[in-house]
C-alpha cells in the first residue's frame, strides 16, 4: 500500500519530562555562593572550581563589562527591568565532580532525572548524557566506543581542567564576552554546560544530550557550552530543560559556542520548556568553516521571557547555516526569538524558518539579522517567518533586518500571519474534538512541515508539549 500512508508517530514516544517538570526536591547544597553578585561571588565560583589564573581574570573582566552595559530595553521587553540581580543566587552545587554512573548520583537528584525520563532515554537512543542540576553536572557519561574514537563529552568545568589546550583556543571566540549584557553575565559566573570535541572524520551517530534542571528558588543557571567538530566530523547535540514553578523569578542565561571545522556538521537541538517564572536569556552562535554546516533547531515552549537569536557566522567558503525555530507564547509569556546569519565568505548559504504561535495574551516576536557584505559573491539566504494567532488579543511582531549588498548575492524573504478562527475551532469541535484538542491540531498543522525535519523522538515530544500547553490555555 500506499505511499499515502502518513508517517506514523511512534506511540512509544520518549518524553523528556512527563510531568512538565513541575516538582522539586528539598534543597541541600554543599556549595553556595550566597545571594547577589559581586567580585566575591565570582571569586567564590572560581575558587570552588580551582580554576587557573586566566579563567579567573576572564571572569572578573566579564563582571566589569556586565556592570557597565545597560539593560537592552530598546530592543526587548520592559520585563527585563524586573530582574533583580541582587536577589539571585549564582552558584549552588553538591560538588564539582559529576558521577559516571547513575548509582553514584545523590538520591534526590537521581530521582529528579528519573522522573524526567533521562536514564531511560540514555539507554534507548543516546550516545551520551550530561545531566546538570542547578550549577553543576550531577551525571556525565558517554558510550565507551566514542571515548575510544577520541570524542570528548564532559562538563565545562572538567573541560577547562582536562583539555585546556582545545578549550582555551575556542572559548569566547565565537561569542565575545561583550557581545551583550547577558553573555557578559554568563562569562563572569558560568558553571556547567557541555564541552564537546569530535576528532576529524568521526561521525557520532546517536545524539549527545544535555539536560538542564533548575531546582532551587531565586537561582540563576549560567551554563557554558562549547562544541568543536573537527574536520569532516558530525555530531548532534540535544538539550532539554525544566524547572519547578516558583513564585519568584529564576534566571537562565547560557552561552553556547559551536565551531564546525572544514566539512564538519553540527546539529544543535533545543526543546526549551522552562516554567513560567524563568527569564531565559541565551546567546547561541556557531562558526562554520569551509563547506561546514551548522543547524540550529530551536523550540521555545516555556519561560516567562525568552530572548534568543541563534546565529551562524559563515566563515569558510561553501559554509551553510540553518535555523529552524518554533516559539509558542501562551498567556503571559513573551517569546522574543530569531536568527542571525553573518555571511563572511563566498558561496555561503543560510536558511531561516521561524514559526511562532501566540495564544491569549502571549506575545511572540521574530528578530532576524542577515548580513552579506558587498565584496562577497554567490551568497544566498532564505528567510521565512510565519505567525499564527489564537484569540484576538495575541500579538506578533516581525523585525527582519536584512543587510545585503553586492550584485551576486540573493535573498528571499517571506512572512505571513494567520489566525485560527472561531469557525475553524467550531468545525473541529463538531467532529468531536475538545476545544483544546482543536487548538492543538491547528497548531500542529501550522508547525507540521517544520517538525518533520526534526529527529523523531523530538518531534513526538514537541507535539506532546504543544498539547499540554493548549490544554492549559483553555480554562
Amino acid at each position: 500500500m500506499p505511499a499515502t500512508i502518513e508517517k506514523e508517530t511512534s506511540s512509544e514516544s520518549i518524553a523528556i519530562d512527563r510531568d512538565i517538570g513541575n516538582f522539586k526536591y528539598k534543597e541541600d547544597y554543599s556549595y553556595d555562593a550566597g545571594t547577589g553578585l559581586s567580585e566575591k561571588t565570582v571569586e567564590y565560583i572560581s575558587n570552588v572550581k580551582n580554576e587557573e589564573e586566566w579563567v579567573r581574570d576572564f571572569r572578573l573582566k566579564a563582571l566589569k563589562i556586565f556592570e557597565s552595559k545597560p539593560t537592552p530595553t530598546h530592543w526587548a521587553s520592559k520585563d527585563l527591568e524586573n530582574i533583580d540581580y541582587s536577589k539571585i543566587r549564582y552558584y549552588l552545587s553538591k560538588g564539582q565532580q559529576p558521577s559516571r554512573t547513575w548509582d553514584e548520583v545523590p538520591d534526590d537528584v537521581k530521582e529528579t532525572f528519573e522522573r524526567l525520563g533521562i536514564p531511560e532515554q540514555e539507554r534507548k537512543f543516546l550516545a551520551g548524557v550530561e545531566a546538570q542540576f542547578d550549577s553543576e553536572a550531577a551525571y556525565s557519561n558517554m558510550k565507551t566506543k566514542l571515548a575510544e574514537e577520541g570524542v570528548i563529552f564532559v562538563g565545562s568545568t572538567e573541560g577547562l581542567k582536562e583539555h585546556p589546550e582545545i578549550f582555551r583556543k575556542f572559548f569566547g571566540k565565537v561569542i565575545p564576552t561583550g557581545d551583550n549584557k547577558f553573555s557578559a553575565l554568563n562569562s563572569a559566573v558560568f558553571s556547567g554546560g557541555s564541552f564537546i570535541y569530535v576528532p576529524p572524520g568521526v561521525h557520532v551517530k546517536q545524539p549527545l544530550q544535555a539536560y538542564f534542571r533548575i531546582n532551587a528558588e531565586n537561582f540563576g543557571q549560567f551554563e557554558r557550552t562549547l562544541i568543536i567538530a573537527d574536520e569532516g566530523s558530525e555530531v548532534t547535540y540535544m538539550e532539554g530543560c525544566t524547572a519547578p514553578k516558583f513564585e519568584t523569578t529564576t534566571l537562565h542565561s547560557a552561552v553556547v559556542e559551536l565551531v564546525a571545522m572544514k566539512g564538519a556538521r553540527i546539529q544543535y537541538i533545543t526543546v526549551q520548556n522552562w516554567s513560567e517564572n524563568v527569564f531565559n536569556l541565551v546567546t547561541k552562535r556557531g562558526m562554520a568553516m569551509e563547506d561546514a554546516t551548522i543547524k540550529w533547531i530551536d523550540c521555545n515552549i516555556g519561560s516567562r521571557l525568552t530572548m534568543k537569536y541563534p546565529g551562524v557566522i559563515l566563515k569558510g567558503r561553501g559554509a551553510r547555516g540553518e535555523v529552524l525555530s518554533i516559539a509558542l507564547a501562551n498567556d503571559g509569556q513573551h517569546q522574543d526569538t530569531g536568527a542571525k546569519m553573518i555571511h563572511a565568505a563566498n558561496d555561503t548559504t543560510s536558511n531561516i524558518i521561524a514559526k511562532s504561535i501566540s495564544v491569549g495574551t502571549g506575545r511572540s516576536s521574530y528578530r532576524g539579522l542577515v548580513q552579506m557584505p558587498k565584496h562577497l559573491k554567490n551568497c544566498k539566504n532564505n528567510t521565512e517567518c510565519d505567525a499564527l494567532l489564537i484569540n484576538t488579543n495575541s500579538r506578533t511582531d516581525t523585525y527582519p533586518a536584512i543587510n545585503v549588498r553586492g550584485d551576486g548575492n540573493s535573498v528571499q524573504h517571506e512572512a505571513s500571519v494567520s489566525k485560527v478562527s472561531a469557525e475553524q475551532i467550531f468545525y473541529m469541535q463538531q467532529r468531536g474534538l475538545s476545544e483544546a484538542q482543536a487548538m492543538s491540531l491547528a497548531v500542529n498543522g501550522f508547525v507540521n512541515d517544520l517538525i518533520r525535519e526534526f529527529p523523531m523522538e523530538y518531534s513526538v515530544e514537541l507535539k506532546r508539549l504543544i498539547d499540554l500547553q493548549m490544554e492549559g490555555s483553555v480554562g
Partner: protein
C-alpha cells in the same frame, strides 16, 4: 425512541429572532428533507443544534436520543452522535485529512484505548473508494485548496467514518457536478439504515431523486409551514415558494 426531537425551538442571532417556533422529529432510519427559501433559517437551525455559540437558543427543547443537547458543548454533541455536513466547510491548514479523521475517531475512544492504524487506513480507503475520492487526498490538508465539490465529498467521507446516529446535511448538493451528485448520493444511500437519521437541507429536487426522502418539510421565516411526502418537493419545484407563501398568508 426517536432520534432527533425538536420542540418549539426559538433561535436568535445577534439578538434577532431567526428561528421562531420550530418543531420536528426525525426518527432513526428516516430521511427528512428540509427545504425553504434563502435566509429562512435552515443553516441557523443546523449550527445551533451543533452547539455554535453565536446561535442563541432562547426557547424550546432539543433531544438527541432523549439527551438534552441544549446543555452540551459542541464536541459532546458530536460524540453523542450528531454529525453536521457544513454548507461552507472550514479549511485546516497543515492537518491532513487522514490525521484529522483519526483525531476525531480517537476523541471517541476511552483514554487507554488506541486506534489500530492498519485497520483505520483500511476503512478510510474503503470509504474513499466508495465516494470515488483519490487516495492522494489523505495527505492533503483538510479542505485547503479543495474545489467546492471536493469539500462536500470530504464532508461525506467524514460522515462515513464517524458513523453518526443523526446527520444534518446542509446543502451537500450545492457545488457538486452531475457525476459527483450521483456518487455522493450513492454513498449516502449505502449509509442509510435503521441506525441513521438524516436531515437533508437542500434547494433542489434533483438530490431528492437520488436520496429519496421519507418526509419533506418546508421552512419559511423560521418555522415549518408545510410537511408532506416526497411529492411535496416536486410540487415546490413546479410552483416555487410563492405558492407556499400564499398558502401561509391565506391561513
Amino acid at each position: 425512541m426517536s432520534s432527533l426531537d425538536l420542540r418549539n425551538l426559538k433561535i436568535n442571532v445577534g439578538g434577532k429572532p431567526i428561528v421562531k417556533d420550530f418543531s420536528l422529529t426525525v426518527p432513526k432510519g428516516e430521511v427528512h428533507a428540509l427545504m425553504g427559501p434563502n435566509g429562512s433559517g435552515k443553516s441557523t437551525l443546523a449550527k445551533a443544534l451543533a452547539g455554535h455559540e453565536d446561535y442563541e437558543i432562547v426557547g424550546g427543547e432539543a433531544f438527541l436520543n432523549g439527551q438534552n443537547i441544549l446543555e452540551m458543548e459542541t464536541d459532546e454533541i458530536s460524540r453523542a452522535g450528531l454529525f453536521m455536513a457544513f454548507q461552507y466547510p472550514s479549511e485546516i491548514p497543515g492537518v491532513s485529512i487522514a490525521n484529522f479523521i483519526r483525531a476525531a475517531l480517537t476523541a471517541r475512544l476511552a483514554e487507554n484505548e488506541e486506534l489500530d492504524a492498519a485497520q483505520y487506513y483500511r476503512r478510510l480507503y474503503e470509504k474513499m473508494d466508495l465516494l470515488k475520492i483519490d487516495r492522494k487526498f489523505t495527505a492533503r490538508s483538510v479542505n485547503e485548496g479543495f474545489s467546492g465539490g471536493e469539500k462536500k465529498r470530504c464532508e461525506i467521507l467524514q460522515m462515513a467514518m464517524l458513523q453518526p446516529q443523526i446527520a444534518i446535511m446542509d446543502e451537500t448538493d450545492s457545488g457538486l457536478d452531475i457525476d459527483a451528485l450521483r456518487i455522493v448520493s450513492e454513498g449516502v444511500n449505502t449509509m442509510r439504515g435503521p441506525n441513521l437519521g438524516i436531515l437533508l437541507i437542500t434547494h433542489y429536487q434533483r438530490l431528492l431523486e437520488y436520496i429519496v426522502p421519507d418526509r419533506v418539510h418546508v421552512m419559511w421565516d423560521g418555522r415549518i409551514v408545510r410537511s408532506g411526502g416526497k411529492n411535496l418537493a416536486l410540487e415546490l419545484e413546479e410552483k416555487g415558494y410563492d405558492w407556499v407563501k400564499e398558502e401561509v398568508a391565506a391561513v
